[in-house]
Symmetry: C2
Subunit: 330 residues, 2 copies
């Protein structure tokens, strides 16, 4: 039995440490690991897909971890197995500390039905997205049927989050009428559900006002591809306010997307997008690490910025360098 088969058996058996090892394997940059990782992934593929993939996004401080902790426990109560994956650009600085994430979601981390994993800090966004895409496949094969993908809504990775999940929940803190300050509109665009967090005590009245304002604003904007505008919810992880309503809405959306066939269509479109994305990333990587291109790029960028050369002439020059090399291949 090969390494991939052995790991697959333990993983299908529901062994959490096997799942953790499998994720470490696909995150590995070692050449020897790549082939095993690929076999494992291809074997998991037919066993994947049976989950609701839920994106949770919001700016730092929006209360993502606290809400996921509460939400996750409630989903476990409903008999689900819950995996939480985090794409956090800032984890490049903290080293993607698993301990950090487990502390942030303290109650969930102690539950045997939950699995929490940050996406290891990657050099570039494309890599983190791909690894998260593959981690979802592993988690589903391991029997997790509610996958929560946490992203920091800074406008850098909302497109990737949209290509990873079925449903996006945007978290907002109710402010003084300016609750969307700093939120890129592209994030609003991909929200299926919007939840105000920390709606307790003195904040509750303010949150009700913010909710009404937001609902008017949403009426002015185009609905999502599935034809619905995002519902808005007031939640508090402290008092439990709105959590059941929020879960009910997410579950309702998941069921309706499955029934209508929208889900299958969306996931297949996502797959074709990842195919295209992977090809483009590989081509660009091959181009950028080409020695002659890398050597000429700073000079040509400078010429473009100084308007000594048009961007198209600069591109032609770089492409000629790439073309005339002995090893231009991705």
């Amino acid at each position: 039995m090969g390494a991939a088969q052995e790991m697959l058996a333990a993983l299908l058996d529901g062994d959490r440490s096997a799942l953790a090892r499998a994720i470490t394997l696909i995150e590995s940059t070692r050449e020897a690991d790549a082939q095993v990782a690929r076999s494992l992934l291809e074997a998991c593929m037919p066993r994947s897909g049976n989950s609701a993939r839920i994106g949770i996004t919001g700016i730092p401080g929006a209360g993502k971890s606290t809400l996921i902790d509460t939400l996750g426990l409630r989903l476990l109560d409903h008999g689900h197995r819950v995996a939480v994956l985090a794409i956090d650009p800032s984890s490049a600085r903290t080293g993607g500390s698993i301990l950090g994430d487990k502390t942030r979601m303290e109650r969930l981390a102690q539950h045997p039905g939950a699995f929490i994993r940050p996406t290891a800090a990657a050099g570039h966004l494309g890599g983190a997205g791909r690894r998260t895409r593959e981690t979802i496949v592993l988690c589903e094969a391991a029997g997790y049927d509610r996958i929560i993908v946490e992203t920091v809504g800074t406008g850098q990775n909302e497109l990737e989050a949209d290509a990873l999940t079925d449903i996006t929940v945007l978290l907002l803190i109710a402010g003084a009428g300016d609750e969307l300050q700093g939120i890129k509109r592209g994030i609003m665009e991909s929200a299926d559900v919007i939840a105000f967090t920390k709606c307790d005590g003195e904040m509750l009245a303010r949150a009700r006002l913010a909710q009404r304002e937001l609902q008017s604003a949403l009426q002015l904007l185009a609905p999502r591809a599935h034809g619905q505008r995002p519902g808005t919810y007031l939640t508090s992880a402290l008092t439990g306010e709105g959590i059941d309503l929020l879960i009910a809405e997410v579950e309702r959306l998941a069921a309706s997307q499955t029934d209508s066939g929208y889900l299958m269509q969306r996931r297949r479109q996502q797959d074709l997008l990842w195919l295209d994305h992977a090809v483009t990333e590989a081509l660009k990587a091959a181009f950028n690490r080409h020695p002659a291109v890398a050597a000429a790029l700073p000079r040509l960028q400078k010429a473009v910025v100084e308007q000594a050369l048009s961007p198209f002439a600069a591109a032609d020059e770089l492409l000629a360098l790439f073309r005339t090399s002995g090893e231009p291949h991705p």
Copy 2:
């Protein structure tokens, strides 16, 4: 004197038909024309940049042509020379009829200080954007100091429009509270100025209400990179309502962007974006026209859609085919 020098002299002389011929040259797909076009463009580069590049976008029926006709005449009255370029995906069907555009902007077309040109229908968007980028350079070298770029705001090309112009004016028709229906939010995101059109007669009261609603909604969204939220204007090409205010706002923005240095910074960022875009497009084109890749692509896409293969395994297979060929080059 070479063909490029001859054309350059006529163009700098302000000869409108020389400008039209120069644009036809850069639009040409003939190999022989490409070198002349490139020389001409590089010669025009140092003489370009001295204009306000104004994007006008809106859904079909928003009244773009009528507003541009009125706006253009007013700019001519102010002593400007006005060029109107249109990126219209639908021109692929009509053949990009110049007559059509001239009929749409009847008064402007008859004025000796104006130049109207649709971007010839291109196979793909990237090509149309690039040609418009180059046409702007030619128009500026020919002395046009107000360049209006008209795009259909269908969400397909707003990013390219944003990479072409300094200021984006979004046109909306005042409806019954649903004036943004069908407008992709990405277009709202790139608007510097929003103008309601056809604000005359019975529509005026409705437009005033729509304007107030829109202003509230805009308060909830993040401001643009230059720190300002879009101003909203009520205009009528019929009565002339609001046209002077709209022009004053566009001119104020143009002056303030120039004074603050934002304009130079933005244009250099656009140039680096075009460089990157041109490289990526060329790499993807080389990949897609590779015989082995083109032959295998339908089968692999089918396997991905049927979940027999992961998108990443399919990408690896395609890249291997590209790599092992004798002529993989862009």
